[in-house]
Symmetry: D2
Subunit: 477 residues, 4 copies
């Protein structure tokens, strides 16, 4: 499933688990606005409610009341370019010989096609295109002949790619993170129980405490009575591939991912951005809201003569239902979304700070808006290195053709967007801000070297895909 998503799993002693999951999904709403779903289990049976739209649109009070039980998992799904269908909404549920399974997946398998082919050879039939269904069928199959921990291990041995999963087998809630730790997953303590979730902000929201990140290759099994959890390091791994974009763009500023607060990483990158390429202009302003933390760090490192001020006002109401202006009214659309605060801009030299440039279209327009508002100079400073390669690990960023930096020098990009100067942060400074060696991060989109074995792409490490085609391991191995 090519998507940036949010996953949750909770097991408590209380029997109203749908409510904390609902609030946790609200806290993860920024990770997916296409659909929202919750599946719970009351010890006897599953209850499920999945609907299109935001969490607040997908659930009403009656829906929550209908989701009985002390264990459950939840999911918010990111809108991808392709088919917007209810059939792809999660959690994905199946029932099989030994009970019921529900799965929430954040990430993307590299070998889903092969694994699906293998299962089809064994007679399996599928109702969706998603790789989540493939994982579900493989896991169900393995559960026929092995206990829970061994079944998960076997499935992990067969899938290759990025995955943070929350899983519910009958009323047991599990969490699994891929051996590279590409997507985030953490565990926390909440009232009467424990929670697995994509970001720690969801734990805060419930008044709970972050315990730690789930380790790459680790399986966490929550106790059914909410009293604790068990850990199984199912796959040893010596080199992680945490997605650096989580800190730069995806995650909430108030989340702690792999031990680093996102807001601090962004401010630190901002400071480094000044160190690497600072320029003294009258004013520094963020692209709201994405550039705010970077700009605040940048200004902090700059001399006092450099003023920090808001120069662009964002209209938060421009959303899904907005009727786009016709082609010759394009400027209106930009002005509707970002209107300059003229006194900040007019007659002044300006530095505009943003988190990243993907296609370059917004940057282009914002520079024009600032010039029209009277800016004498417009300099851009960017909190991520140039993006030159697509993501195969779960982020629907863009194809190579669409990326402005794929075949352009920085000078050429500056020319396209019309800025007086343009500087990107260095990859090293990003890694330093995250307090990790860059080899521990997935930086494929800025290097073109991938931590997985992807057809037609280079890899940055020795990896082999699992051999799927062999008969599934026998029950006594």
């Amino acid at each position: 499933m090519r998507d940036k998503c949010g996953v949750v799993g909770i097991s408590t002693a209380a029997d109203d688990v749908a409510r904390p999951i609902y609030y946790a999904l609200y806290a993860l709403q920024h990770r997916g606005q296409e659909s929202a779903g919750i599946v719970t289990h009351d010890g006897f049976q599953q209850h499920s409610h999945i609907a299109m739209g935001l969490v607040g649109e997908a659930f009403d009070e009656a829906d929550l009341v209908g989701l009985g039980g002390a264990a459950g998992i939840g999911h918010v799904r990111y809108p991808t370019a392709g088919s917007v269908e209810k059939s792809c909404a999660q959690p994905f549920t199946v029932s099989f010989k030994n009970g019921s399974l529900a799965l929430c997946h954040n990430g993307n398998l590299v070998n889903a096609g092969e694994l699906r082919g293998d299962l089809e050879s064994l007679g399996h039939a599928f109702t969706s295109d998603g790789d989540t269904e493939v994982i579900a069928h493989d896991l169900a199959r393995n559960l026929l002949r092995a206990d829970l921990v061994r079944a998960v291990k076997r499935t992990m041995g067969r899938i290759h790619g990025s995955y943070s999963l929350t899983i519910m087998h009958d009323d047991t809630v599990l969490g699994v993170r891929d051996p590279e730790g590409n997507r985030p997953l953490c565990i926390g303590k909440v009232d009467d129980g424990y929670i697995l979730c994509s970001e720690s902000a969801a734990i805060d929201t419930l008044g709970g405490e972050l315990i730690r990140d789930v380790c790459p290759g680790e399986l966490i099994v929550l106790e059914d009575d909410g009293t604790g959890f068990e850990s199984y390091q199912l796959i040893e791994t010596d080199r992680t591939a945490h997605c650096f974009f989580e800190w730069v763009y995806f995650a909430r500023p108030d989340s702690i991912i792999d031990e680093k607060l996102v807001y601090e990483v962004r401010r630190e990158i901002g400071r480094s951005l000044w160190e690497e390429s600072g320029i003294e202009t009258d004013v520094v302003m963020p692209v709201p809201d994405s550039g705010r933390a970077f700009a605040s760090g940048y200004v902090e490192a700059a001399p006092d003569t450099v003023e920090f001020a808001e120069g662009l006002m964002k209209n938060r109401y421009v959303g899904r239902t907005f009727i786009m202006p016709t082609q010759d009214e394009r400027e209106r659309a930009v002005r509707l979304k970002h209107n300059p605060i003229k006194s900040t801009v007019a007659g002044r030299t300006v530095t505009l700070v943003d988190d990243s440039i993907v296609r370059g279209t917004t940057s282009d327009q914002l520079v024009a808006v600032l010039r029209a508002a009277g800016a004498q100079e417009v300099h851009m400073r960017i909190g991520a290195p140039p993006i030159i390669a697509p993501c195969y690990m779960g982020i629907d960023m863009a194809t190579r053709d669409e990326l402005i930096a794929t075949d352009r020098t920085i000078e050429e990009i500056r020319d396209v967007i019309g800025a007086d100067s343009l500087k990107y942060i260095s990859a090293g400074a990003v890694a330093k801000a995250i307090c990790k060696d860059s080899s521990a991060l997935c930086m494929a989109c800025i290097t073109g070297e991938y931590p997985y074995d992807i057809d037609g792409e280079q890899t940055d490490r020795p990896v082999t895909r699992p051999t799927i085609g062999e008969p599934p391991a026998s029950a006594d191995d």
Copy 2:
């Protein structure tokens, strides 16, 4: 799937098959109002649209335009007592090693649980409770090692119960009827192609011609180019079990089922009803609309002094969204639905004719309404024998406890509903009207003897359930 449903399958030379399917579903709407769905195939891929509600609510013009292709199947589903869920709506679709499958099912399997257990043992996981998914998985599995005709034969050898199916494998449309022919299925010629459907009225609606009924145990494969069809008698059968209730209640009067026009069967039963138990009253009136054809036959056979007139006016707007009166306003609900035409009733002796009595609650109330309107005598004549046993073959009639006739004599029933006399037609007269030997009909609900092997029930013939647990037949048998 315990339901009375309508199924359609069409293959044409034109590429807008969704439109004729849509109209055919309109013609079959009386067989199911809960949900409606169409799946088409354009040679490259499947297109699907399934939604809750009536056909007219489920589809708009854009939905039809989106359903490209020259082959397709469609379904209307009957609202059953239990869960009203989108996941149970049909057609049911899966993709597997050798392509895609879509299925529409009218009927009910007796051994779905066993077959599901067998498939689960082989590793299969299921997304719904329905027996349609069980058929789909079994058929997909058999298609791995056999061609289409042999695969259908193997699946038919493993399932036991009533089923009229329209199936689409990639863009090939098939129709299958169970060896007892319990549910109807017929084949017709339409513009540029052929149609399989539950009732011939759907063929009329398309301006087509009924060719014949699909035989019990027969597989029909429509040619992909709309030029013809092939027939395979996969299971020989010497004794059918056509549901007699199709003629008495379910089907449209203008449909021809197993060579007999429904309207004529009902009028003939009406005539026999007079022969068997006619009573000369001032007026004969139908319960609208179910009793109309019976009443017209009854009056035809009666002396000229017996007048035929409408005595009850039915409010056609009382439907799903009607807010029921509170308990002490019950009479209102009856009066809202059936109001007497006083001049027909007041001061006169009345014969009220209906098709059947299931729970007896409506009959009870209608007699009261007629008496309140001044009827001197109210006699009831019923076009079906007393219903004493539940249906396991696809009709969600009632449980034994709910059936008024299970443990009451006719005299006791007459007493409950408060009529001056009550007579049912004989089973023999029904069979005669249908022009079939009663042993060729399923009359289980009036005899308690079933044509299938059902746990805890008697059977009217030597039958054995298929042995499911054995390994599926090898590829070279």
Copy 3:
């Protein structure tokens, strides 16, 4: 307001008047399917709920609970060709110096434009195009200087046209019928109170008793405590103009309008139709459901050799949301709505009986359907005389151009619709069936002579429009 509508008004001792109004509107649903509304008054304030769609769509349980009070009025509105807007939905409500007014109107004023101009000259401003708002403003104005009865009388002296109104002034419910009695209105006794409504079937539905029709020119005021009603004959009238089409087409068969049961009128017309133009064919069949009562009377008068049978099956699901076939699929649309029962038709001579022919398009198609089904001859018999002129009194029938009979002889019409013979009932027979002198009926659509003073049309009696422009009557007249 050019519309065929249904109106209700109830005053009871109980305080849940919304519920009986809701059921009464269900009983009047055939008179209007575009919108439904209820306004109640609890002694302190008005409560209102008005929504588009059928009664069952417009109201849910919570809506009824919110409509407190012991007095209320309700309305169902007919979909007219023009603008479908919520602003035209009724009851129409205004508040003014001396309280609140709510009005429900069935009919159409001939002089609404003049009256509106007069009120505008006095400074009034209007929120809708409807004549109901005009009546409301005039009545409110008169209530400033006169008590209720005198104010209604003054307004009746200024408006000209057809109107059956239910009105609520604060919590007092009134009913008014225009001096010609063009639209029906009756009064009945129900539990704890009294009801005013368009048709008596609504009274039956509530288990009540019809008391009598409201007289032309009469005002009925219901007692606030549900104990009775007062009558004021505000305008004496010597010649009524009851719309004969109410009996022939609009009203329910089980309603009694101006002392004649609609069903009996239709059967009697059927009998006369045989007397005037009977032809012996193998079978007589109604166009369902409009022709059923006529056909039954026709057959009753015919020799026994003429069989009565259903020959056309109507699909009741073809409604507002139906997607029409494209031009070259026209036949499909007819077949979807009316499918022949072939055994009744094939190889036989047929008489088809319907209530009326307006544009002729349906008749044309039905004859073709019967011929295609094998009818040897098709004869049409019609329960109303040829319609040659438009209706200005509240029925949105058609313009003169659209009426098939405006400039054709009967023989020419027969030719257009393709029947072997075509006969209409005589106007005299219709009047006789209604038991009224034809001069007491409005037959303008079949004579072209109107009972009101309409620009560009002839009248059948001496009438003058009220002189609106003069100053409103002083308070002491």
Copy 4:
């Protein structure tokens, strides 16, 4: 109409005025989220579309296409405590003797009841409770006997209170601002025409230029062909009463109101806040987003040792459909909406800056959230003086009982919200930041002295309500 709303009026040479009005309403969405409406006039007739919800929900492409014409007005409405009804949505439209009127109102009349009584005495009837309808009727009445300018002048002489109106008489668009200039209204040049709107940001959005504010007591009439506008100073006024809260809270930071950029006013207040009551803490943080500009000014004035950082993360998805936690889960609701960024807060002294305190409940909870996140000290600084009196001029703030400052000293308020210190800005500093004498502002909510004659309240100037009861001025005055 007690509401904070946004109004627009545009007249252009092009004939697609609905589109720029739609975008202007998007720019004013923050002023009202309950309903949105547009009324246009194409020279022949009015077109109207008004619906509940946000602009993006209320309009789709087809709605805009249906709104033909070169002149139009639009409105967004603020959700008030009382009845949420479609009947209160605007623009309000009436038709009368001399054409059609449409009105959009931002503000609140003090003497609406009296004026309504006067009109009711003249026979007027009303369909809503709103004072907009009262203005409409009065203006329509005056237009009977006077030309446009004189009619507006007469109505302005009869209404008393705050009002910024956009009005359309047939296809002529007007703007009127009350003599005290309480609510904002400005005029701008856009492509092919002119615009009247509540805030200049709407002009920016259309790529236009702000010309100036409409003067208190001024009528602006836009030329029908979009070529210019006329000005009429209908009421001379020597003392304005601009609402200071527009700059502090309501308006967008990028709007210029009465010649002052809102963002600059807020920053300047922030600077004064430091001058008046600065305290050196480790970090200064805004309540997002309302306190951001104030905090940025405050930090700018503070020594360099005081760090500016985000300490609270706002969840923008918590909106109308959010299901509130139960009472004992209250903390969750706060944490869902505002989660602390712990590294900014933990172990540090904190200054939290917000725009105002109304009821005090949010402040209370935010202080608790910061303390729970480890703040050593929490100091609050507020960009508006204590609010001690309700607003009668169009802002649904709160009743006196609900205002935390009505009967508490600042020290007592500090104690309630649990801060270590609490300081409000002085009224003088606010006026200075707005560059106006405080006597030119309406500061009634912080002084208790009103610029209008309100029953039971004191006034800060000599005012008398208009005498409504007298006969309307004759046509020749």
